[in-house]
Amino acid sequence: MADHTIATYLLIGSFLLLIFLKLPITFALAVSTIATAFYLDVSLLSIVQRMASGVRIFSLLAIPFFILAGELMSKGGIATRLIKFSNLIIGRLRGGLGLVNVLASMFFGGISGSAVADVSSIGSIMIPVMKKKGYDADYSTAITVTSACQGIVIPPSHNVIIYSLAAGGVSVGALFLAGIVPGVLLGLVLMALSYWIAVRRGYPAESGYTLKEARKIAQDAMFGLLTPIIIIGGVISGVFTATESAAVACIYAFLVSAGVYREMSLRRLWSVLYSTLRTLAMVLSLIAMANAFGWLLAFLRVPALVTQGLLTISDNPIVLLLLINVMLLLLGMIMDMAPLIVITTPILFPVVVTEIGMSPIQFGILMMLNLGIGLATPPVGTGLFVGCAVGGTTIEKATRAMLPMYAAMILVLLLVTFIPAISMTVPNWFMN
């Protein structure tokens, strides 16, 4: 009796209408799912159960652990140490602080995996210093915001876990390994660009450190940088699962920040837990609701319909991939990462993986890069908003300063899209 076409329109249409009316995406997913289930005469009991079972997945436990480890490290003194360490390595080049900003984000990305945390912690230290040393405010903000996007691709990143689940269990270890080269590549391209700008604008270079200072700085940073090594090493060697290594990394991060850096008091731990819970508030309930929504999507065969639709536009893989990139970039401009991953992965997966034949691992990295760029673009870019607030500049100015950086990021995106070796070499190397 219930017509599936009407149900599909109801599900998608009510969702789009509700998010257009600015209802939080989590609740828009819930309402359209409930309404469609009601229409299809599917028991709401099973829908509600699906919400709970959406977060009752062992590999999903890695998300709270990664977020907690990142928070522990960033509030426990790692950001300041990584900045000094980056300054030691690269500060003496022209425009040193711009390069330091990118390199520190690369290291920080290996610890936190959250672009927004990166912007607020690295940016709040670096931008004021850069401005005092004569860097333009818009440039300082732009380089902070764009370099923070590395964190999403460089392992470990909790967004990769969300993708792995949404794609039906792609190996987290392989995804982590696949992210290393594209993430570092993005960093190097941004560094080259910021060096070029620095030379043209005559930005200063930093002076060096004495050997004694250098040893202390390197030693301090190493303790923090061991966190991602524990996680990635644990996962690759098969000693731990991603979830277990993330939990071990939390305990390690706590010991380092409390014992070595001596910056973790009980009171600070309390606020670390609160900020972890804040991030989880948004991520986990979204996954819970998306699980119920995704079940109806699959039930109504929406992914198959989208695949058919895309294939009627073109069956040339290059055209299709470009089309998908443009689509993800545009969506990334108006929507945040986590919701896009949970909603678009199951829909695009059949086209990209089954039809075009791209490896699900490469597709994951492609998606992370696309959505990462979205965090730095107006009108909705969390990274951009935080950066502008920290840098005391307007979105218009920062965006204009970012134009060459967008070009650099899109260049990396195209390379990753069309050269599988960039993402796949490292995982193939370890996994075979």
């Binding site: 509700l18 009316l21 600015k22 209802l23 939080p24 995406i25 989590t26 609740f27 309402v31 409930i34 709401l44 009991l45 829908i47 509600v48 919400m51 709970a52 977060v55 009752r56 436990l61 709270p64 652990f65 907690l68 960033s74 509030k75 300041t80 000094k84 602080l97 912690s121 230290i125 004021p128 210093v129 930093e206 002076s207 450190y209 979830t243 277990e244 939990a247 071990v248 939390c250 305990i251 910056e263 009171r267 600070r268 309390w270 606020s271 837990l273 609160y274 819970l277 804040r278 989880l280 508030a281 948004m282 986990l284 309930s285 108006i334 929507m335 945040d336 986590a338 919701p339 909705v380």
Partner: protein, 193 residues
């Protein structure tokens, strides 16, 4: 002037909220320690803890739905802004109330069907711990009820007096101010040295 009754209700909601947030934080700590100990036992003592995963997942379901309510209170849930930034006050008012009503609706579904789910699963048990499955799904009606309470306050435009709670729940800046300043001074002065 707001009535005493309203103040009592507000204090009550704030207390419930504070207790649940504190519980959720302790659950995160508990989960981390639990998985950490499990790994330690497996590799060092050579024995696994069979019920550790199950308990960790139970905790995760619980704090997901508590955090969902926290998200409603603190407006953490992401929405998208395709509409122009500056809308007329009337439209904003209508949207706020509409959102509150819809969220209340979702909360009610979670309470009503969550409750049924709890009742129907009370007879089955979680295999490793032997705990009744209903306790897992109890998170749904509890979270749902908290969501309803929070959005009711939005619907009626009640001031939550969040500033009272801030120190207890641990709202602080990302990185402590003194660390930021110390590093900045170092970077600035290093140059002249």
């Amino acid at each position: 002037m707001q009535s005493h009754a309203l103040q009592h209700v507000r204090t009550m909601i704030n207390t419930v909220f504070l207790v649940l947030i504190t519980l959720a934080k302790l659950m995160i700590v508990g989960m981390t320690v639990l998985i950490g100990v499990m790994v330690f036992m497996r590799y060092v003592m050579g024995m696994g803890i069979r019920w550790a995963n199950e308990l960790a997942l139970l905790l995760q379901v619980w704090f997901t739905f508590i955090a969902m309510a926290l998200g409603v209170r603190k407006r953490l849930h992401i929405s998208i802004n395709i509409m122009p930034e500056k809308l007329s006050a009337t439209i904003n008012w209508v949207l706020t109330k509409l959102h509150a009503l819809i969220i209340i609706g979702v909360g009610v579904v979670m309470v009503v069907y969550g409750r049924q789910l709890v009742i129907s699963t009370m007879r089955s048990v979680l295999p490793a711990m032997g705990l009744r499955s209903g306790f897992l799904y109890l998170a749904l009606p509890v979270g749902g009820a908290l969501i309803v309470l929070e959005s009711l306050q939005d619907l009626f435009g009640i001031d939550r007096r969040d500033e009272w709670l801030a120190p207890y729940i641990g709202e602080e800046q990302e990185i402590p101010e003194e660390d930021i300043e110390a590093t900045q001074t170092e970077l600035l002065e290093h140059d002249h040295g």
